[in-house]
């Protein structure tokens, strides 16, 4: 029997997805830095070593290139590795493997080779961790044909999307917000999958569309609460996957509201917001009643000290201000 309104944290939801897929398919295994004995630096994989043993939940050396490279090789032979790169920043050490190998093997081989690899990693500032432990690098991956890029924002989405990622025949970059692992939400006990390329409307509204990703979804929802008090009915859409992108849902919403704000925690310059803004600007140009507004991290490295770090990332207050300005 299912428990109505069962609440899980995002970390628990991810762990449950990993566990279910490992039980379902003996070819699924986990490896990465600290994933086994320590249960992951964010405690996401706690308990999986005890249940599945060191053959399937394995600590690696701190060697990002070979963590991903070995994942690619095992995937080429048909296994379903889930590798963890502890901080998104560290994925830069594996970029040849991700960009030149994993992303291109199917194409370079004319479809002869599949790389069913899932790379779990993190994004997000806010922990006073400075410039090498705080970046949100999704735009870099989304720029590379051959990769799929997933950005869950709720426990429900995290579980359903991760199960889809593990079963996907192509390499998937699954990016978790390190600040929201303990956020709770409903996750049904029955099995479900969430297909890629299907955006989710997190709040329905008619006056303005706020397109937000990952860590910025709760920030956008908080902003819409404030806006509602001022009589503004905002719609919040989470694309959930940058690649493939559900352009139609974004365009349909903006055609309805005539105004759009795009919010993503990556740097503003050449960021995911730029692509999303161009998608809605091209797709809904004749319906726009104001320019599309983008909000992202300032174009500076993430600083350490709190007063510096706290001004870098978009806030609910900024979303409210820009929404009101666009509606003025």
């Amino acid at each position: 029997m299912s428990t109505p309104n069962r609440q899980l944290t995002i970390a628990q939801a991810i762990r449950e997805a990993l566990r279910e897929e490992m039980l379902r398919d003996p070819e699924v295994f986990l490896m990465g830095e600290e994933v086994a004995g320590h249960g992951g630096v964010f405690q996401v994989t706690v308990g999986l070593l005890d249940e599945f043993g060191p053959e399937r939940v394995t600590d690696t050396p701190i060697s990002e290139a070979i963590i991903v490279g070995a994942g690619i090789g095992a995937a080429m032979l048909g296994m379903r590795p889930v590798v963890e790169i502890m901080f998104g920043d560290f994925s830069m050490l594996a970029m040849d493997q991700i960009v030149n190998q994993a992303a291109k093997l199917r194409y370079m081989s004319g479809g002869r080779i599949s790389v069913p690899l899932t790379i779990r990693t993190t994004l997000g500032a806010g922990r006073s961790s400075a410039a090498q432990h705080s970046q949100s690098l999704q735009a870099i991956f989304a720029h590379i044909p051959g990769l799929k890029v997933v950005l869950p924002s709720t426990p429900y989405d995290a579980k359903g999307l991760l199960k889809t990622a593990i079963r996907d025949p192509d390499p998937v970059i699954f990016i978790e917000d390190k600040m929201s692992y303990s956020e709770k939400g409903n996750v049904p006990e029955e099995e479900y999958l969430i297909p890629f390329g299907v955006a989710d409307i997190k709040r329905h509204g008619k006056d303005i569309t706020v397109i937000a990703t990952s860590s910025m979804v709760p920030v956008a929802l908080a902003a819409t609460d404030t806006l509602a008090q001022q009589g503004v009915d905002a719609e919040v859409i989470d694309p959930r996957t940058l690649v493939p992108l559900d352009a139609q849902t974004l365009i349909t919403s903006v055609k309805k509201t005539g105004r759009a704000i795009i919010v993503d925690e990556g740097c503003l310059g050449y960021g995911a917001t730029a692509e999303l803004a161009s998608v809605v600007a091209e797709g809904a140009f004749d319906y726009l009643q104001a320019p599309v507004k983008r909000l992202g991290a300032m174009n500076v490295p993430l600083p350490y000290s709190h007063p510096l770090e706290s001004v870098i990332i978009p806030t609910s207050k900024q979303i409210v201000e820009h929404a009101l300005a666009l509606l003025a």
Partner: protein, 320 residues
């Protein structure tokens, strides 16, 4: 290790197949029938053939930008290879890969690679999958003296060592990384010594002696099959041609050096052994050459007659 006459003749024929293939690639490149660049393997045939002679079809290799020899030696189809080099739809990768991207999973070819050292990571991963599935296959990761200076090799050797994976790191030291003599950019007495710190054997083989390569790699393969882990092998050989088909290869080395290595040609050396120790006649050599040459000519014909890809195919195979 005593090899039979049949085995030696097979190795001779395989080496000659690679050489005739590469000669034809050079010719078709000069005719403009192959675009882009091709990195020729001439002079190094004993390494690919010796190593692959001790592998089973269900074993795996990862190859390099100079990969035609490895692919032929592991059982790749020369027709599909030549068509791929010509950018034809019938090629191994439907014309999407070219010279540096030949894959044949059934033959155990996990790909040539356009990134120096690019195949090492996936070779370690393939070995990891083999170990997890508890089969007794092995993986040979070919790389050059250039690849020997890539960081991923050391991450890979460490992981293969600590997890005792069935992988052989096979460095083909052909003396040049692109246009640079390896001695000027490579520290230490030998590349083979570099496994010492990782706690598994590192050995040197004469890369111009197919029997020495076969014996050395054979021992490493046995070790790997028995679960005793990886081996690093440095096969010392020499690249006759330039870095690629458009490089004459004369500006960074002397003619004397090239001639000296050519006097130790791997195919001629084995030919002499077969003639002197196994009474193989001049007629028989001629028959082998004719057979091989015809096979390569047919591959060229197959390639030339094959259709080019349709521009509409450009978006296929990005994702499943």
């Amino acid at each position: 290790m005593e090899l039979s006459k049949e085995k030696l003749l097979t190795m001779y024929q395989d080496m000659l197949t690679i050489r005739r293939f590469e000669e034809m690639v050079f010719e078709t490149y000069r005719n403009g029938q192959i675009r882009g660049i091709a990195h020729l393997y001439i002079g190094e045939e004993a390494v690919a053939v010796g190593a692959c002679s001790v592998l089973r079809r269900d074993d795996y290799i990862t190859s390099t930008h100079r990969g035609h020899g490895h692919c032929i030696a592991k059982g790749g189809d020369v027709n599909l290879m030549m068509a791929e080099l010509m950018g034809k739809r019938t090629g191994y990768s439907k014309g999407k890969g070219g010279s540096m991207h030949i894959f044949d999973r059934e033959a155990g070819i996990l790909g040539a690679n356009g990134i120096v050292g690019g195949g090492i990571g996936m070779a370690v991963g393939a070995a990891l999958a083999i170990k997890k599935r508890k089969t007794d296959q092995v993986v040979v990761a070919f790389f050059g003296d250039g690849g020997a200076n890539q960081g991923v090799l050391y991450e890979g050797m460490n992981l293969a060592g600590v997890w005792s994976l069935p992988v052989i790191f096979l460095c083909e030291n052909n003396h040049f990384g692109e246009f640079t003599p390896y001695r000027t950019v490579t520290s230490g007495e030998s590349i083979a010594l570099r496994s010492t710190g990782f706690g598994f054997p590192g050995v040197r083989a004469d890369g111009n002696d197919v029997c020495d390569v076969a014996e050395t790699v054979g021992q490493a393969v046995e070790r790997a099959r028995q679960g005793q882990g990886p081996t690093l092998i440095e096969c010392v050989t020499y690249r006759y041609f330039g870095h690629h088909s458009g490089d004459p290869g004369v500006r960074y080395r002397s003619k004397e050096e090239i001639e000296q290595w050519k006097s130790r040609d791997p195919i001629e050396s084995l030919g002499r052994t077969l003639m002197e120790n196994w009474d193989v006649s001049a007629d028989e050599f001629e028959r082998i050459d004719e057979k091989v040459t015809n096979k390569i000519k047919e591959a060229v014909e197959f390639g030339l007659e094959s259709p080019l890809p349709d521009p509409n195919e450009v978006t296929a195979d990005v994702y499943a």
